[in-house]
Amino acid sequence: MQPAHIPLLLGAAVLLPLASFFVILVFGPKMGHAGKFAGNVATGAIVGAGLLSFISLFIWLGEHWPEKPHHGGHDEASSGEHGGQHDNGAGEQEKSGEHRAAAKRDRAPLVMNVAFHPGHIDEEPTADEDAAQHATDKDDGEHAHPVYTGDYYLLGQFGRLRVTISYYVDTLTVVMFCMVTLIASCIHFYSTGYMHDELHDFTDHEVHMSDGSHLHRPGRYHRFFQYMSLFCFSMLGLVLAGNIAMVFVFWELVGICSYFLIGFYVERKSASNAANKAFIVNRIGDFGMIIGLMALWTGLGTFSFGDVPRVDPQTGAVVKDDHGKVVLEPGIFSQVRPGKDEHPYGPERAHELIVPDGMVQAAASERVVAIVRDHASLFPDHPEDADAASQAQIEYETRGWRDQGYGYWLLVIAGIGIFCGCVGKSAQFPLHTWLPDALEGPTPVSALVHSATMVAAGVYLVGRFYPVFAPEVLLVIAIVGCITLFMAATIAITATDIKRVLAYSTVSQLGYMMLSLGVGGWAAGLTHLITHAFFKSLLFLCSGSVIHAVHTNELPQMGGLLKKMPYTAITMLIGCLAIAGVGFPMVIFGGHGIGFSGFYSKDAILEQAYSFMQTNNSAWSAIFFCAAAGGAAITSFYMFRLWFLAFVGKPRDHHRYDHAHESPKVMYIPLMILAFFAITVAWQLYDFMPESKRNPANLNLVYLLEQARPAGTEAAAFGKLLTGTWPAEHDSHALAIRLPVTLLATGTWIVGIGLACAFYWLRYLEAEDVRKTFQPIYRFLINKWWFDELYDFIFVRPVHVISRLAAMIDRRYIDGLIDGSARVTRWFSSAFEWVADQTIVDGFVNLLAAWAYALGVSLRQVQTGRIRQYVLFIVVGAIAIFILISFFWSPETPAR
């Protein structure tokens, strides 16, 4: 197995859940009683996909072992490893030969097209040939990240536009695959236990029929797993997609699957409303996304992320240059961040974000038209010369236009548009209201939606499109993320529904990720995406286990469940510790802390926010850091409030308490697996291991993700339309930043957990008193900042008023007009019928009939009945014909 096989493996991993979906779709109801076997099919498919994903990861590691991120030219003193070695240091020599060779050959990332050209990799120049030249290229901050991109299948070609099913595989893809399949597998196993109610006829106690009884319906076990399979397929396809068209298709598939699953109990009014809400709110975001995609496509003329071989539109053959090398068509990423050979500002600014030529020319279309017109009038007789000359002139002028700022707005609009889609999917501030309602679906669905699939898609896409985002877009992302994280965290404090607390915590954590991406913390944000997926799915499954046991979502009716369900309680405690970011900073392992997975990712986010604040040194940048730090404290408070209310203290509802029991093994073993990963997934054993090739210490989530870092984003970025600096993410690892931040982060979780202990465990403080003291704030929070009411007031009510007005106008005037015109038409047609039909047409037809009748009557006289007369007629007729022929017909004698 070589890396060329990874796209095939991952493609198979995408198709397995799809196959399971179709099998269940067709045979589902026949699979045993109520489709019992469907669960096994779906689980088998996702476990198979998981195995393929992990095999891909191992193949990947065999070829590209992660290494300490390189930041040539930056001060490396804090790690003490790369100091002063940025020319030709030890770290560089660890790079495998293929890395350097490809880095030289290709424009931005190391791109390998493997699907149709398996021999292509073998043709690469060896490291030795290029080492000499390559040594001079190192100071530009370029470190190639390995990418496999290519097409599975060409759907159609329209001029230069190729619509393909393609892939774009880097470590982000592989890591997302492993995360999604692992979590989805756990959730599938868990669901086979959780959904057992659906195996027989199911009485839904929340649906009241008109006769007062409850709804009684057949179980829908197979349908649940059918949608779960489709959901996994959509998410995996989205992650694998190699072009924006495909991303959009899978994006919508994810949306429709969440719609199906949120509305699984479709007979419940609340569930169907929640499904509609999720779908419609996402449409709003997707509208922006379509605008963004169109802006991108207008400017760039390609759908593809990475560079793909140029194909001749006529012959369909791959174009090769004079040396027999495949000519590459630049993808989106290399157009906005060209490599050193193509960059218009010279090789020293390689991979810096520029406005691509297409966008500049699209924005300066008036000037372009003027040039074309001038040249056409200069060479009226030679249109080809005029074309060539104007093309050359436009290309020459483009650089000047770019310096004047043409097209920059288009780039910003493209970025904001794409982010709009992510706002909808990832439930960010203006469109966050659907996610808390989405818990109307079965709990495993909530776990999947809230961790690995739906909301992860938005953050993933921001991470994927990160190289396209201008600093202004990043600021928008940061602002939205900041508002979201703080708002959702405060709402979660007062929520009493166990799943609602978790839902708002998800919104808040997604806000963290967006904030992190927005202030330049690419790796931090995506690391948090992965770690959050593990502990949030764990928390949701635990809450499902609790709900399964006590049959209520309300925290005030629980309490003391630790004794009844120890496995659930302990695993949930682990989840709470992980999301609170509990860890011990700087104690062991050579000055690096150790803790739960959230400790690493949250610290990284805070570090980046702090670094951003320090660099910009202004009030608005400080808000980001303060919100993030405050949010961290609130997070640990409400998570432990939840845990204490549910698991410790005296049981508040004895009936429910007596009824409670530990969940079956098939449910708590997935919890343990997830708990294990919630602890360990982000562990970094920094300098514990000696430096060597294939250093096991480098095998951690952050370094893996760093391998996929888009070229050019490791450097600091500067806003064009506003003054601001987005510091390089590596700078945030400096000791001067890390020390205060990690201590502060530790402080936040200690404060949060301490407060929660004081309120809900030790009862030093009484929550009731605080509630009474801060009555207005409490009401503000319990009503979720009145967002639903606000939207109701701003959007729903006016729409109702307008539609009622429109209905009134419709009934009064439009209907009147139409009825009137119908009446006039009827009158007219009855008059016209009399004139035209009855008089003219009928008269004509009747006249013909009368004539025919008269003719018949007169011809009757001929039929005398006398045979001899008839014979006479025959004879006379024959003679008459004979005479006529002899007089009037002279046959031309054929020439003999």
Binding site: Q863, T864, G865, R866, I867, V875
Partner: protein
């Protein structure tokens, strides 16, 4: 062209056929007895037959039709026999109902 001096050819046969035809036609037109009318019909048909055979004969015409004329004559003979059978049956029935075979009395179907 003189029929009396020319050697025997198609024209002579045609003359005989014409005489037969005219005789038959006159017979049909003048007889009131149904059997007489039938006899006239036979004459007309056979007059036509003579024409067919004459035109079809290899001996009389160099560019003959082969056996077409003769075959046609055979068909006409068969047709005449069938027609005679049907017509006689009609005549018998007519006689049974009207005790006469006068064709002038058979005007039930007149317009």
């Amino acid at each position: 062209m003189n029929l009396l001096t020319d050697p025997i050819g198609v024209s002579h046969y045609l003359a005989v056929g014409a005489v037969l035809f005219v005789t038959g036609a006159v017979c049909m037109a003048t007889k009131r007895n149904a059997l007489g009318v039938l006899m006239g019909i036979e004459l007309v048909l056979n007059g036509a037959n003579i024409n067919f055979v004459a035109f079809g004969s290899k001996l009389l015409r160099s560019d003959s039709f082969g056996l077409d004329g003769q075959l046609f004559a055979l068909f006409v003979i068969v047709l005449a026999a069938a027609e005679a059978a049907v017509a006689l049956a009609i005549a018998l029935n007519f006689y049974n109902n009207h005790t006469t075979i006068d064709v002038d009395r058979a005007d039930d179907l007149k317009g």
